[in-house]
Symmetry: C2
Subunit: 408 residues, 2 copies
């Protein structure tokens, strides 16, 4: 594993002060799954009546814990529930042993917390292909259950880190008819999957009261414009997991409430941006905004093609307003485009219009924009009303350093 310990230059100044969420408690422990000298397992417990929604990797080689979570979504919301997460080992591509480990962990968690096994959701992140030493985890479950703490979310954010250079958290409080609803979430991830030690995991908690089906629809919808709109390296983990738990403990029914939906979207987007800001080797945070595509789907295809292009990403690393590479990336995306209708902006600078360099283009202005840490690339396709925004980072020597290093 690469030892790149410097914090990303794009990191927030500090971990936010996350509010407690009624009905949710946390505990972490150093179980020694792989890492030594740090907490590597976290248990979050939710009160009875908690609705749980989730979104998972679309990989055809999904890890065992992901398959288990997917099977449990939409089940009974009556009893209490738990999330059990370990870092250091992904329990991915481990054959039948993977399923056995999930079974052992969820059973031990269910017993320790006195809840049904179907209400235990587990995630693992870390090396692929090595059997998960699940006994190191199950040995600590009684303790983890005993030391639950409503204020433990910051420690939980640290326990799930792998190659992350900073813990990620975000929160929102919504006033609904004079009563407060709280949302707090944590995430880890620094490459879609990376030096056998990364993946994206997100856990969001709220005391809002909402039926599971409605929560699931809301989370799936928001996911399309948040976590599904970020990319570090175009690689997709076998373990990506987003779980949202709504305990209902505030007693405030948020069904159909747009303020709650917006607040949840805001927390998801904040966490998604933090994952990009911790992109391996990243030195620039880049928003890519596509307008004028034939459809929204086309716009997203174009935007992701630009965001994933190694040539665009290396140009950004070089602070080069290389709009020719943006043209190339739009052209190769497969979505509809007309060379002679394209317009491209870097920041506020219009660099190309209607298929050619803009008459008033001043490269020095565009180059000045590229020197910043927060960049904007705008592409207008000129064909329709489709639009999409995605976020990415640059491709640097740091990415190669982290990922070309031998695992051992």
């Amino acid at each position: 594993m690469a030892k790149i310990s410097a914090v990303s230059p794009l990191a927030p100044k500090a971990f936010p002060d996350l509010p407690a969420v009624e009905g949710v408690t946390f505990a972490t422990i150093a179980a020694g799954v792989r890492y030594q000298g740090r907490d590597d397992v976290m248990l979050a417990c939710m009160s009875p009546g908690t609705a749980i929604a989730g979104v998972f990797t679309t990989s055809a080689t999904r890890a065992a814990p992901v398959l288990d979570c997917q099977a449990k979504l939409g089940g009974d919301s009556g009893s209490a529930a738990a999330f059990l997460v370990n870092s250091g080992n992904a329990n991915a591509f481990t054959g039948r042993n993977g399923d056995d480990a999930v079974g052992a962990i969820t059973l031990a968690t269910a017993n320790a917390c006195n809840i049904p096994q179907e209400r235990v959701f587990t995630s693992s992140t870390g090396v692929i292909g090595e059997p998960l030493p699940f006994d190191r985890i199950t040995a600590h479950l009684k303790t983890l259950s005993d030391i639950q703490d409503a204020k433990g979310i910051a420690a939980a954010a640290r326990a799930i880190m792998t190659t992350d250079t900073f813990p990620k958290g975000a929160s929102a409080t919504v006033d609904i008819a004079g009563r407060a609803v709280t949302i707090a979430g944590i995430a880890k991830g620094s490459g879609m999957i990376a030096p056998d030690m990364a993946t994206m995991l997100v856990y969001i908690f709220t005391d809002a009261k909402i039926p599971q089906a409605e929560l699931q629809a809301m989370v799936s919808g928001h996911n399309a414009s948040t976590f599904n709109c970020i990319t570090v390296d175009s690689d997709t983990s076998t373990s990506d997991t987003l779980l949202v738990a709504a305990t209902g403990a505030s007693g405030v029914d948020v069904s159909g409430d747009l303020a709650f939906s917006d607040a949840l979207h805001g927390v998801m987007l904040d966490l998604a941006h933090q994952v990009v800001r911790d992109g391996e080797g990243a030195t620039k945070f880049v928003e890519i905004n596509v307008t004028g595509a034939k459809t929204d789907t086309d716009a997203k295809t174009h935007a992701l093609s630009v965001a994933n292009s190694p040539l665009v990403k290396t140009a950004i690393a070089g602070e080069d307003p290389n709009w020719g590479r943006v043209v190339m990336a739009v052209g190769k995306s497969g979505a509809a485009a007309d060379r002679d209708l394209l317009s491209i902006r870097f920041g506020d600078v219009i660099v190309a219009e209607k298929g050619w360099v803009s008459p008033g283009y001043d490269e020095a202005q565009a180059a000045a924009h590229m020197k910043g840490q927060e960049l904007f690339i705008g592409v207008d396709i000129g064909l329709g009303d489709g639009r999409a925004t995605v976020w990415t980072c640059d491709l640097t020597h740091g990415y190669i350093d982290i990922n070309a290093d031998y695992r051992s």
Copy 2:
């Protein structure tokens, strides 16, 4: 433009001794389109009766010369023909000026060679978005026509280079019923598109006699298993062009002749491999072989997903037999796969079988294979009979050096 002048470690020892092809002559000249002190324009002239086939980039933002070539394919084969190629400027994303430049160049070539304008095929490679100073080219066409030389192919291979670190050539001679047919080709390319100075251009010449429609079908078919099976960085040029000219001057009819078809395929594959061997920053040439997919199309999707994965490519650069990343890349490809049926080989070493690390796996053996310059990754999907082979290179600091450098 990056000044990375060292020759790729994967380059052939020397440019091959290419045979003359009856009915084809060449000339090159230093026109100063952008580069100074080197030839940057080449003119190839073919005798009357030459059949011309081509394959081009699928980019939606194709450059003007590509669109012009595509429109001319399949036209009259009676009169003589010419290829006119410049390096230094791609004449891409140049609006109406691009079309005007193509018109001026093809007209001047037609006049100099005394052939119809519809028989002049032109390509441009180099910076995007800058108007092509076509007068620098047209000024030299009379000279280029006057100094045509049957032995000029090696100089032509050099004149079309941009960021290439070595010129690329390949040839074959086929004996058909006691009579010789010759094939000789040249190529340039070192990234699918790269520091505004790359793209893939290929010109192949033969004295075989073959109807245009049959030649086109043969070239399109072979392209699918040669140039369409290589990738350096997953980025697609706006200018990629493959043109094949069959002069018929040998008098040998190769219609339906498998030996000729195989020989042409061999020349195309050789040139395709050379493009990968000149991949920007490449230190490893990698063959990725997928078997057992549901269909051949699925196999190619899996193979390209592995070949284009930044995490697989950085692992190769790090000489790490990181099969977990291969699993990841298969899983994300979108084609059918079953985690528990996958098998993976590095060289002769079976690293994973049926969804888990192989019982007899010795990582030291796999690591030893990764230290070579020519690597093999085999993936068996375990679902059917679909198969595909693609070729790629590793992703190194050299790639970042070349592409993160500011253009000016």
